[in-house]
């Protein structure tokens, strides 16, 4: 691990200002992903800004009848919150399907959104990777790609976003609140937070230098039957091959977002219009622009069948 200095600012705006002053600074919250990457020197910040203790760790009701989740709320706390369990069950379920108990006790809401891909070539510093080292090439395209992306990918990168939580938040129409170094704030729909890789896969979000996520807001409860179904190689403590987050209403209409297939939670408006016609029609719209490799083409029928099972569960 490279040496770094450390500070613990007193306010979110102060944290953002500190980050804008030093181009090699990083925020650290739970640390469960960043420290892992620092040990491998995939991340090598010279300065860490500890954002724990900024008072961003509460879950408050909003005037619109939703919930405002502080950026520092731990994954365990969020999954166990009675309001989330009752009104946003898909979010509790997604959180509980991810990582381990130990990691969920530390991992935060904003950190979960900003975690890096688990593409094995991103982690292997002996291999080219356009995300880790821009312009070096993509080892995954011709390599072992079974776990990797099938849609929204590019010739430069086929990595997936590994979060379960983000997939549920996407289907719940969450928005992200931020503060910038000049103390201005903005709201970003979750669907706009992550960029698709194109020819610059190292740029993963629309956040600017020093911009700090302060909260994630959920709109008022969507009702319906909320389901998160994750398919993985082990029954527990494994990243998704694919996952389906769905909110299905009594009349068969609904929303669906897919995890494990793309560089961001994958949600397609046209697919939701097709939902009442069944999983085949919806999956076909979800993957209209899919470009799977021969190793991960199985993800397309796997999503269709999992979605079919989810819709059957919602009807029962």
């Amino acid at each position: 691990m490279r040496a770094f200095s450390y500070e613990k600012p007193a306010s979110p705006a102060e944290a953002a200002t500190a980050a804008s002053r030093n181009p090699e600074a990083k925020f650290i919250a739970g640390g469960t992903n960043l420290l892992d990457l620092m040990k491998l020197e995939i991340e090598a910040p010279t300065h860490l800004i500890d954002v724990n203790g900024l008072g961003l760790d509460t879950i408050e009701p909003t005037q619109e009848g939703g919930l405002r989740i502080g950026a520092l709320v731990r994954n365990t706390t969020l999954a166990a919150d009675q309001r989330v369990r009752r009104d946003y069950a898909v979010l509790s379920r997604a959180l509980l399907s991810g990582a381990s108990g130990q990691l969920r006790n530390r991992a935060t809401t904003a950190g979960n959104l900003l975690q890096r891909t688990r593409c094995p070539y991103f982690y292997d510093t002996a291999q080219p990777c356009n995300k880790r080292q821009p312009g070096s090439g993509c080892s995954a395209l011709g390599g072992f790609s079974r776990q990797l992306g099938v849609v929204g990918t590019s010739d430069a990168c086929i990595a997936t976003h590994p979060s379960d939580m983000a997939v549920a938040m996407r289907v719940l129409d969450a928005t992200v609140e931020t503060v910038k170094p000049d103390a201005s704030t903005r709201t970003i729909p979750l669907g706009d937070l992550h960029r698709l890789p194109g020819d610059s896969p190292h740029l993963e979000t629309v956040l600017e230098k020093g911009e700090l996520i302060t909260a994630v807001t959920l709109p008022k409860p969507a009702g319906g039957t909320q389901i998160y179904r994750k398919v993985r190689d082990r029954a527990s403590y494994a990243f998704a091959l694919i996952s389906v987050a769905a909110i299905v209403q009594r009349d068969g209409s609904g929303r669906v977002a897919i995890g494990g297939v793309a560089p961001k939670p994958w949600r397609v408006e046209k697919a939701e219009a097709e939902l009442p016609r069944g999983a085949k029609a919806a999956a076909s719209a979800l993957f209209a622009d899919a470009r799977p490799t021969h190793e991960n083409a199985f993800k397309l029928p796997l999503v269709e069948r999992t979605l079919d099972a989810v819709l059957a569960q919602a009807r029962s």
């Binding site: 040496a3 450390y6 600012p9 002053r21 469960t32 999954a79 509790s92 108990g101």
Partner: protein
Amino acid sequence: MVAAGACAALPAMPGAARAQPVSRGEPVTASVSMSVNGENRTLQLDTRTTLLDALREHLHLTGTKKGCDHGQCGACTVIVDGQRINSCLTLAIMNQGVQVTTIEGLGTVDDLHPMQEAFVKHDGFQCGYCTPGQICSSVAVLDEIKAGIPSHVTADLTAPMAVSEAEIRERLSGNICRCGAYSNIVAAVSDVAGRQG
């Protein structure tokens, strides 16, 4: 990365909370105070020192084990302010003022914690390397169920929690045992849960 924690002789940062950008490669030390197994400890540490390395290399509490050092195996599990965490994935400096309980703080050879006793009784280990992490994790798992925190296998998110074999297996999935003592570990944890009622 294994060099972290070897720099106690370097000048300390004036106040751990002060901004002090450094040039690449120049180590920085800071003062860290925490309660470990009920005893207040203050250390001068390289900022890179993880809580795990602070416990093992600086406080010589070697009960907590380093397995993967990447949060994948759970051997480094300790209890911080009542919650189990991977001590390899948190910096010591991020843990100012916390209360840490390690395996040494749970029980001693002459006065075993009920969970340690149950692991012995049910033969919940073979080589023993993952055992301190398994036991710290197990103690915290029973507290989490008591506190009503749900898990992936909890059927009804709004109903009261209950201990079951499925719950124990799911909740302990972050603790790997390469000897494969899992069935005896589940028996030990179930035994303690049953006695706690």
